[in-house]
Amino acid sequence: MFKKILIANRGEIAIRIIRACQELDIPTVAVFSEPDRNSLHVGYAEEAYLIGEANSKKSYLNIDKIIDVAQKSGTDAIHPGYGFLSENSGFAARCEKEGITFIGPSSDVIEKMGNKTTARKIMAEAGVPILPGTNESIESDDEVYKIAKGIGFPIMIKAAAGGGGKGMRIVNSADELKSCLRAARSEAGSSFGDSSVYVEKYLENPRHIEIQVLADKYGNSVHLFERECSIQRRHQKIIEETPSTAVDDKLREKMGKAALKAVKSVNYSNAGTVEFLVDKKKNFYFLEMNTRLQVEHAITEIVTGIDIVREQVRIAAGEKLDLTQDKIKRNGCAMECRIYAEDPDNNFLPSPGTIRTLRSPGGYGIRYDTCAFEGCNISVHYDPLISKLVVWGKDREETRFRMLRALNEYSITGIKTTIPFLKKVIKNKFFIEGDIDTNFIASRIERSSAPSDGTLKIAILTAVVESFKKAEKESLFHNQHHPEKSQWKIAGKWQMWGNRF
């Protein structure tokens, strides 16, 4: 097993990984950027090193600096978390070269799966179903137009190096093509440093369902069932659940087998996720493979009882998978809500700032993964995820009601969050029926509903009481105020008394 693990990440996921390491009795090393000096992951780790400025290119994406810290601290393994360097094959290769274990698959697998067009090619060859489109990235606008005509609008333009919904545009007609291409290319360039894009047939209102896999270095692999991730804004998930209301045992088996085919086709090892789009007729198509830990991994953990991060570390250390497919059982349901510092009434615009007050949910069946605390700053420099609220229930309705209860307990002030929006989704009648797809937020949720009159009255009443008390205090102060008996003198006397004891 490893002597020491460096976590090349920040936020809630850094804490999640530190916790797993501590339970394995492995010391941890945190790295942080200048504004993250006050972040919680620094305090949770055994050691912590400043690696650069706020800009992630100068800190969390700074490979040389991170490797330097790893060597200086005597680290023999690095966990990349999600985002940042987690799917950077160059970083994984550098770790391999320096003799540090990268907790994840090998660099060549990351590279193959990271290039979405190469991944499509490999999957097609392995017999995993893919959507019609190109298996090469495309340079000219004309070429995109030709292909679009061939497979028919709508199409999806995607960043070849992409993921996480960035550099992605739906094109409904030829008129939109130019502006969409521009936007996709520029976002791809700024997010991934590679502006090449490819084209895929756009499936109308599909579900986004993914399969979690674990594979060791000896060819053993299992899947941990599906996660339903259709509730998305800007192609980024905000609510996930398992099991999916669209997946029956037969489909689960088929998708699980396809995911394991994908794993075997590239000799995958460590934890990974195979994402599929599923249409109304239960056809499924390979979307991409995430060669890292997912944000939403916790829902799988609580229904299977398997600690995925712990497994990642064990597998990376060369241990054998002690799980077999028939031993993996699902117990009940789980749901995750992602709480972002965003304004749902303003197109989910990030709402960075300082959390003024925080009341977190608790009780039976609740798992609360966060990096937030009262007074902490949600920085403009990084992903605005505040916390993940994960709940367990024996069936979907119990889970849903528990989630609603937990969201009602949860209060964050000082910045705008997705909490009110999440409540709206959890209470939505189509969501209750499990009638969801990736277009759910646009089609089923009313954006800005007027606040309820009753709630407004509560707010007014409280504000008026406060105003009244203040006015009372002021008039009392004015009436009693006397230079010889100033409040400071009284405080001074108290202080003297205090010193005598």
Partner: protein, 165 residues
């Protein structure tokens, strides 16, 4: 004691008096018995009749930010003196819309030019922040009077970008 309360775009006429540990408050003639106690910084337990609520309240002079049931309200509570003052300043700024960036970022694209007529909901400018492109929209009808920034410029939170009249 009498207050004028402004919440959203509405005004409410409110009366309040003490009754024992509670308050009797009427909002536009509707009466409530309210018992509000401070639990910790900014957190109140509020009993209205016997209905219980947890309410977060932050005050800055006459202005309150109140968070309850996951909803957030900006409320202004004015006594007689404050009312007169507010009347004066209000009428000045009307008819003018200032598009500001809510956060630091980079101007990716300006979608309008000076002199353009804009409609409510029309995209005005694209700002990149937190690695996402965000389109800021006009909230009213008017004519673009001034564009303060250029494409590619870096802006700070609260900076004025475009003025519409």
């Amino acid at each position: 004691m009498n207050f004028d309360v402004i919440a959203g775009n509405k005004e409410y006429s409110v009366e309040i008096e003490r009754r024992g540990k509670s308050f009797i408050i009427t909002i536009d003639g509707e009466e409530f018995e309210v018992d509000a106690t401070l639990l910790k910084k900014e957190l109140y337990s509020v009993l209205i009749g016997s209905k219980s609520h947890l309410v977060n309240l932050k005050s800055e002079g006459n202005n309150f930010t109140v968070d309850v049931n996951s909803e957030s309200f900006e409320i202004e509570v004015l006594d007689e003196a404050a009312k007169r003052l507010a009347q004066k300043t209000k009428s000045q700024a009307e008819g003018k819309q200032v598009i500001k960036t809510p956060m630091p970022g980079k101007i990716v694209k300006i979608l309008v030019k000076e002199g353009d007529e804009v409609e409510p909901g029309m995209g005005m400018i694209i700002v990149e922040a937190m690695k996402m492109e965000n389109e800021l929209k006009s909230s009213s009808k008017g004519v673009v009077k001034e564009i303060v920034v250029e494409e590619g410029a870096t802006v700070n939170g609260g900076d004025t970008l475009i003025v519409v009249e």
